[in-house]
């Protein structure tokens, strides 16, 4: 089989065909990258080249959203106002979680001014990646799910969920605000050179979906569908990310047009072999080496065995991108991530 480059591998897998080797990519925490490189000055791009990963992820919240510093709280944590107007608290991990939404009442919506997706600085990072990797590694561009933006940043989780039952018109309005921004953002990213759109945002928890199928179809899936339809109109595929147990709603994600589903969450009882049997002929599977257990506390040998098992269950016939079950966060042992990538190259090569 002809040797492919990273971009070709990922595109081949997304098209449900068999590449020369099962491709891999992940968002990797800086501490892990530095430990593997033995160099705290190495860039993320250097790391991607060093491990010869097939794609690089641009995290939209980190690289393209604007934040206004608000100082620190009583526990010394950084607080910032995000571009949507929500107050975000950051952890040591650099994870930002909205503490106070932008919109407190329906009245706030009338005067709400959304962020401008066309500001040139948002796309500087993407341009750097395009300059370095275009054509040989997949530039996987994050786009936070409209459900996430509208729920967490605009209205706040509890208010959003309650409004789904009590005031659906408000949910429609905040969804529309987030969707209009994201559609323009995706357009701009594709204009610049994004190869894949990665729609990140959970629809499910460990036990199952956050909201009923009816509500997902009414409030959540239509925005995904619009983003996918636009990306497809430009020839760009979409990966939909959702942690949690999605057995009861995966068909909705597929019907919305997603080309791939990430991460087939093993902590929520998602077995990738079962996923392959149920929907592996319809979408590419992206996952699912356990980053809550094996990559954190397992041995190198256990990591290799798990990679082997993932590829055995889901690699045959193509349509698999082997990644962690979420991301390579700071708790992952650096040697385990290196072992994972090597094992993917070894067990994922020249599958029948």
């Amino acid at each position: 089989m002809q040797e492919l480059n990273g971009l070709q591998r990922i595109v081949t897998a997304i098209k449900l065909r068999q590449p020369d080797v099962v491709p891999t990519f992940d968002w990797v925490d800086k501490k892990v990258r530095d430990a593997i490189m033995g160099d705290t000055n190495a860039s993320c791009e250097d790391f991607i080249d060093y491990l010869d990963l097939d794609g690089i992820v641009l995290a939209d919240r980190i690289s393209t959203w604007g934040y206004e510093p608000l100082g620190v709280n009583k526990r010394g944590r950084q607080l910032k106002r995000c571009q949507w107007g929500a107050i975000i608290q950051f952890t040591d991990e650099g994870t930002g979680i909205p503490m106070e939404p932008a919109i407190k009442s329906e009245k706030d919506l009338d005067s709400y001014v959304p962020p401008d997706p066309d500001l040139p600085w948002r796309y500087e990072r993407l341009k750097q990646l395009v300059k370095r990797f275009k054509g040989h590694r997949a530039i996987i561009t994050g786009c936070t799910d409209v459900f996430d933006v509208a729920k967490e940043n605009l209205l706040g989780d509890a208010q959003y969920y309650k409004a789904m039952v009590q005031n659906p018109g408000v949910v429609d309005r905040v969804n529309e605000i987030a969707l209009n921004y994201q559609l323009q953002y995706v357009k701009n990213c594709i204009d610049i050179g994004a190869d894949v759109i990665f729609v990140n945002g959970d629809w499910a928890m460990t036990e199952g979906p956050m909201v009923s199928r009816e509500f997902i179809q009414r409030f959540v899936a239509p925005s995904l569908q619009k983003i996918v339809e636009y990306a497809h109109s430009r020839g760009v595929p979409c990966i939909k990310h959702s942690d949690g147990n999605i057995w009861s709603i995966y068909d909705i994600i597929i019907d919305a047009g997603a080309d791939a589903i990430h991460p087939i969450d093993p902590m929520a009882g998602m077995d990738i072999g079962e996923a392959k049997a149920k929907f592996g002929d319809k979408v590419c599977l992206v996952g699912n080496v356990n980053c809550a257990t094996t990559l954190v506390s397992g041995t190198v040998d256990e990591v290799r065995q798990e990679v082997k098992e993932v590829i055995r269950k889901a690699g045959k016939g193509g349509g698999l991108i082997c990644t962690s079950s979420n991301s390579i966060h700071s708790g992952v042992k650096p040697e385990n991530y290196v072992a994972m990538v090597k094992a993917i190259r070894e067990y994922g090569a020249h599958l029948a």
């Binding site: 991990e93 979680i97 009590q166 460990t206 980053c291 809550a292």
Partner: protein
């Protein structure tokens, strides 16, 4: 024809199940006017309603929106009942201290557990999110809590639940409270491993486990006293 006490309480229970705040509050008022005591309304109307909501959630028929609006309905009724509960000498189920561990700022899961516990008659103190072990220790030292609930939603912050339990041991406070853990990456096995007394996968289960732990704690207290 006037409604019977059972009918009045059933209406309160059904209104909680429907997440109908207006009807829950008016039903509670109707029950008070009919001469039912606050503790009867709580025990036979509000709590059975929330228990049914928990069961519906457990069976996958209710989801977060339904859980939240039912919780709201119960809390609004409780606002009416609470002053009467204290004057009629009724005690709450117990005292529950809750927080999301240090480094973790997720609050939705904790808040749903908190709402359901309150609705079930618990006195709940919320330390918020990103709570360091020493803050949990200090609160337990100052307060008189039956149960400490630790929420961690990230794999990277689960270790802080362990640090909190260790902190309580060092401070000689571990024996004062039962400890429950929960959150997406948390499992029963992990709870057992770190020496927690209970684990709950969701808010409905948290209410059931809390009741079991309180009962156990009270029996231990009685046994210790004999």
């Amino acid at each position: 024809m006037a409604l019977s006490s059972t009918d009045i309480l059933d209406k309160v229970r059904d209104a909680v199940i429907q997440g109908d705040t207006k009807e829950t509050v008016s039903g509670t008022n109707r029950a008070l006017v009919a001469g039912l005591s606050a503790n009867v309304i709580l025990d036979k109307g509000i709590i059975p309603g929330l228990q049914e909501v928990g069961d519906l959630y457990g069976r996958g028929e209710y989801f977060l929106p339904e859980l939240l609006i039912s919780g709201d309905a119960a809390l609004n009724a409780l606002k009416l009942l609470e002053p009467l509960l204290s004057t009629s000498g009724t005690t709450s189920q117990g005292k529950f201290l809750i927080g999301t561990v240090e480094g973790d700022v997720h609050n939705i899961g904790k808040d749903i557990v908190l709402t359901m516990l309150k609705g079930n008659g618990w006195k709940v103190t919320d330390l918020g999110v990103d709570v360091p072990p020493e803050e949990f220790c200090s609160a337990i030292e100052r307060g008189d809590f039956d149960i400490l609930g630790l929420s961690s939603l990230l794999t990277t912050t689960m270790a802080k639940s362990v640090a909190t339990i260790e902190g309580l041991k060092k401070a000689g406070l571990r024996g004062r409270v039962k400890i429950m853990v929960g959150g997406a990456p948390v499992t029963q096995e992990w709870a057992d491993k770190i020496g927690a007394d209970g684990y709950a996968k969701d808010a409905a289960m948290a209410c059931k486990v809390a009741a079991v732990l309180l009962d156990k704690s009270q029996k231990e207290g009685r046994n210790a006293g004999t």
